[in-house]
């Protein structure tokens, strides 16, 4: 189990019982939810790995600030000077540690080109994506949750099949195509909404909504479809459970049974799907930004990619990762709140103590 070398038979023989004994323990660990501490350890590990990956992109790149800024006119002296200026003459591990250390305090370095602090550029662009993605997430919950519930209650019926069909079709479409179609219908044909542009939420929430609703809707559909399908499946399963019969038998109204009992148990997997959708939505936001011409992260990262502006590229990616991680912690917290029972370790052999054979 531990050594990579192929075990000789006697060793395997010795290990097999150990493994068997371990299995139930590991199973129980897996069944129990991860406590907060473990979640944080994993999140931190993932963040460090992600930062390493992000940093290594820069290290693997042959771009250097002098060549990027001065082009062909860069002399070896220029290159050396600028590398020293940006700390690129130091060993990689030192560069990484200082970069990560400064990143953790909110300093992502400065752009090779403009000298503008990366953190400032990101801070300017990020709210656009966050507000659009946030609205998209909200729409996904409302749309996906609603259709999922309706489909489950209509199990096998016409609405259910229609929902399944629409979800299947949505999954074969590139999400940005939906955005284009929405522009054609609502902006070009109906003229009801602007084809693109952005007004910050703080400036005018009404205007913000007018500009944000189409991109957010386009972004939300994919996540909504996944969520609807997952929710439908878990709900159909949960509705067959005995405790649902039990709740009905206690004279609880249909609404109370659905929202107070069934949804609580069925929402978990759908919520996990939502958690997984966060990076998808953020990634999709980039394409959506281009379609709707929004001044967000995409503009920033596309522009920096064109210019090989490594600090901006790294900063943007790292911040995006951080946003996804924060969202995931939120999803986990929600899962825990939804299902407090799971927070406790099952009390081992408690059940069946006097329960006799089932």
């Amino acid at each position: 189990m531990s050594a990579p070398a192929p075990p000789r038979p006697p060793r395997a023989a010795r290990l097999a019982p150990v493994r068997r004994r371990l299995a139930p323990v590991r199973r129980r660990l897996a069944a129990a939810p991860r406590p907060l501490g473990r979640t944080l350890v994993i999140t931190a590990t993932v963040f460090v790995l992600a930062s390493l990956l992000t940093f290594s992109l820069g290290a693997l790149s042959d771009a250097n600030p002098a060549a990027a800024v001065l082009g062909d006119q860069a002399t070896p002296a220029d290159i050396a000077r600028m590398e020293r200026q940006f700390g690129l003459d130091q060993p990689l591990y030192a560069q990484y540690l200082s970069w990560l250390g400064r990143a953790l305090t909110g300093d992502l370095g400065v752009s090779w080109f403009t000298g503008v602090p990366v953190a400032d550029s990101v801070a300017q662009a990020l709210p656009v994506d966050l507000s659009i993605a946030g609205l998209a997430l909200l729409l996904a919950i409302v749309l996906g949750g609603g259709t999922g519930i309706v489909a489950a209650l209509n199990d096998g019926g016409r609405i259910d099949r229609a929902v399944t069909l629409v979800c299947s079709v949505l999954s074969t479409l590139p999400p940005f195509l939906i955005g284009i179609v929405l522009i054609v219908v609502f902006a070009v044909q109906l003229g009801a909404l602007p084809t693109g542009g952005y007004v910050p939420f703080g400036e005018s929430p009404g205007q913000w909504l007018r500009y944000a609703v189409l991109p957010a809707f386009a972004l939300s559909l994919d996540a909504a479809a996944s969520m609807a399908r997952q929710l439908r499946t878990s709900l159909v399963g949960a509705l067959r459970e005995n405790y649902v019969t039990g709740a009905r038998m206690r004279g609880f109204s249909a609404r109370r049974v659905l929202f107070g009992h069934v949804l609580r148990n069925a929402a978990g997997p759908a919520l996990s799907v939502l958690g997984v959708s966060v990076p998808v939505i953020l990634g999709g936001a980039v394409v959506t930004e281009k379609i709707f011409n929004l001044p967000g992260i995409a503009q920033l990262s596309l522009q920096s990619a064109e210019q090989h502006d490594i600090p901006v590229i790294q900063g943007t990616l790292l911040v995006t990762v951080a946003v996804v991680l924060v969202a995931n912690i939120g999803v986990n917290a929600a899962l825990g709140a939804l299902n407090p029972a799971a927070r406790r370790q099952p009390s081992g052999g408690g059940r069946g103590g006097d329960g006799g054979p089932a």
């Binding site: 005995n242 405790y243 009992h261 609580r264 006097d354 329960g355 006799g356």
Partner: protein
């Protein structure tokens, strides 16, 4: 014991169809008086569970009440309710408040992600309109009343943290929390071991005495009935084959099927599959047979048994049996039944 004058539940000519339209319950009629305890006995597939689920209005999907009446309360009073025509809303006003139910496998009937206390509180708040604090206090009382030790602690536990016996007590507490007239226990003690089973039965008897509950005890185990029921109803293949006061039925079973069940029960090992010992198998669910439905497995079958439906024949003091032999219609004396010698009948044999 004579027919009660104050019926809590009257089932009259109940027919239940299963998916495919077969009649799984046919013409079942019985009455439950206030505070009466009745055992509904039969093997799995006899229709006893469908019968009690009809009373609760929670038939499995595809099953439906296709005939008959189920009345809660005395026939002419205001509180009388014809359940078979109920809407979901009307059901909600009856379930939990006037009829309570407990089942086999109590764990699965509780929401796994809510504490048991919270589930009882919910019932009290919905069913009796209690406030939060009141409901909490009452819950602890109820948990104490059903014999749970350290009720405050149990209150905050999740179903998976409790044993089967404790869960059944919780379920009973929930079922009786709104002082129903009728408590249906569907195989409620089957999965429990002998000691716990006896305790639960005792608890049910106590609640019955204290609260004037009528008790419908659905079980496949005549021993349970012998201990705790005033009357017993024996079902076979969808029909009531015999009913009457427990003491009489058990002392002198008039139907060969009851007799066989009794023999099996008295052998002693309860967990054993009851019907391994009665040769043959029950007819296919809903099979249409011209005559007695037990004829294929009965040691005393004669040609007449298979010719026409056998009506329930009244014996003495409310004791009835659906058999020609004790009715004296076969000419033979209804002496004790000897071991059935019928050869095993091919499965699903129909007319």
């Amino acid at each position: 014991m004579s027919r009660p004058d104050d019926p809590v539940l009257t089932v009259d000519g109940l027919d239940v169809t299963v998916p495919g339209g077969a009649h799984a319950v046919r013409g079942v009629s019985f009455t439950l008086g206030r505070g009466e305890s009745v055992g509904l006995v039969g093997e799995s597939g006899s229709g006893k569970s469908l019968t009690c689920r009809s009373v609760l209005g929670v038939l499995p999907t595809g099953c439906a009440v296709s005939g008959g009446r189920i009345t809660l309360g005395a026939g002419a009073t205001d509180s009388a309710a014809e359940l078979t025509s109920f809407t979901r809303k009307q059901w909600d006003a009856v379930r939990g408040r006037r009829v309570g139910a407990v089942f086999q496998d109590p764990a699965s009937y509780l929401n796994p992600s809510l504490t048991v206390g919270r589930q009882l509180v919910e019932q009290l708040r919905v069913g009796r309109g209690l406030g939060r604090a009141e409901a909490h206090a009452r819950s602890v009382e109820l948990f104490t009343a059903v014999g749970l030790h350290r009720p405050e602690e149990v209150f905050h536990q999740y179903p998976h943290e409790l044993s089967g016996g404790m869960l059944q007590r919780v379920l009973i507490a929930i079922a009786v929390s709104c002082a129903p007239e009728l408590l249906i226990a569907d195989e409620a003690t089957t999965a429990l071991d002998v000691v716990i089973q006896a305790e639960i039965l005792e608890l049910l008897q106590r609640l019955r005495a204290e609260q004037g509950l009528a008790l419908l005890l659905v079980t496949h185990d005549l021993a349970v009935v012998a201990e705790s029921c005033d009357r017993v109803i024996v079902m076979y293949a969808g029909e009531i084959v015999e009913d009457g006061p427990t003491a009489e039925v058990l002392a002198a079973p008039a139907h060969p099927y009851t007799e066989a069940l009794l023999r099996v029960a008295s052998i002693g090992e309860w967990g054993r599959r009851t019907l391994d010992i009665i040769p043959g198998r029950p007819p296919r669910t809903g099979a249409e047979l011209p005559g007695c439905r037990f004829a294929d497995r009965c040691a005393h079958t004669v040609a007449r048994c298979r010719e026409a439906p056998v009506a329930p024949y009244p014996l003495d003091s409310g004791h009835r049996a659906r058999c020609l032999r004790p009715a004296g219609l076969l000419g033979a004396s209804p002496g004790p039944v000897t071991a059935p010698a019928a050869a095993p009948v091919p499965r699903g044999a129909t007319a």
